[in-house]
């Protein structure tokens, strides 16, 4: 049984978005992912981390924590912040819903996390922060053989 764990903590600076998704992608290489599965994970992490910068901290400096755990062939990801929180999660996860339409935000972040990962859950307390949980199973595929 494979088990591995990674914890990253960094400032909510836009420049760290690429760092975070690349680090998570590198971490899950041991699962021998297909290129398309790897790309799904990178995109989902990018969405979650960008939400921390743009929404949770609104451009102010805060800490983003990304934790990853590998258990057998499954990757669990937890992205948390201590920012402003989401007032209405049901609304926030709807496709195309955005609180910042003027900034060319698509409102598709949560939809992408839901679609690209196998499991997705978001918890939030206003004024305390938000935690996003996502997981994905990796099967051995011919693509990588």
């Amino acid at each position: 049984m494979t088990k591995n764990y990674l914890k990253l903590q960094f400032y909510s600076l836009p420049i760290n978005q690429a760092f975070a998704r690349d680090a998570v992608a590198a971490f899950c290489l041991e699962l021998n992912p297909t290129l398309s599965a790897l790309s799904d994970v990178k995109t989902a992490v990018s969405e979650a981390v960008t939400n921390c910068t743009v929404h949770a901290y609104r451009g102010n400096l805060g800490l983003v924590t990304v934790e990853c755990e590998i258990e057998d062939n499954k990757l669990h990801i937890k992205v948390s912040d201590t920012g402003k929180g989401i007032p209405d999660i049901q609304k926030a996860v709807q496709p195309f819903y955005t609180t910042l339409p003027s900034d060319e935000r698509s409102g598709m972040g949560f939809t992408i996390m839901q679609t690209f990962m196998d499991e997705f859950k978001v918890n939030s307390i206003q004024g305390e922060g938000t935690v996003v949980y996502m997981s994905k199973s990796f099967e051995a595929e011919v693509e990588n053989a």
Binding site: P14, I15, Q17, A18, R21, L35, S36, S39, D40, K42, T43, S46, E47, T50, T53, V54, D103, E104, R105, S106, M108, G109, T111, I112, T115
Partner: protein, 103 residues
């Protein structure tokens, strides 16, 4: 992300390359809009995505922003050659009904 453009047979081609995320899109927006404004005599605009190595939902907002810009100048906008991952996101968003693929 880098932005380059050229005119050929009255078509403005805009090539985007690198990684498209919230951080990298900021400069690229202004550069793209400048190219469109400088070439309003074009018949249409084609944004080439073949060298985009990564894209998250920023790409959707980015393309809709350029679509609005081009529409104000009555220029039809197309995209071409998104890689597999970019195509997956663009398909999910339904953006191809606004901005069709050129091929």
């Amino acid at each position: 992300m880098t932005v380059t453009g050229y005119m050929r047979e009255k078509i403005l081609y805009i090539n985007l390359s690198g990684e498209m995320d919230e951080c990298s899109a900021q400069d690229a927006r202004a550069k793209c809009d400048k190219l469109i404004e400088e070439n309003i005599n074009a018949k249409r605009v084609i944004i080439n995505l073949s060298e985009i190595e990564f894209m998250d939902s920023t790409g959707i907002g980015f393309l809709i922003g350029r679509y609005k810009k081009a529409s104000r100048l009555s220029l039809p906008l197309f995209v071409e050659k998104p890689n597999f991952a970019a195509d997956k996101i663009l398909n999910l968003s339904g953006i191809y009904s606004l901005i069709p693929k050129a091929e």
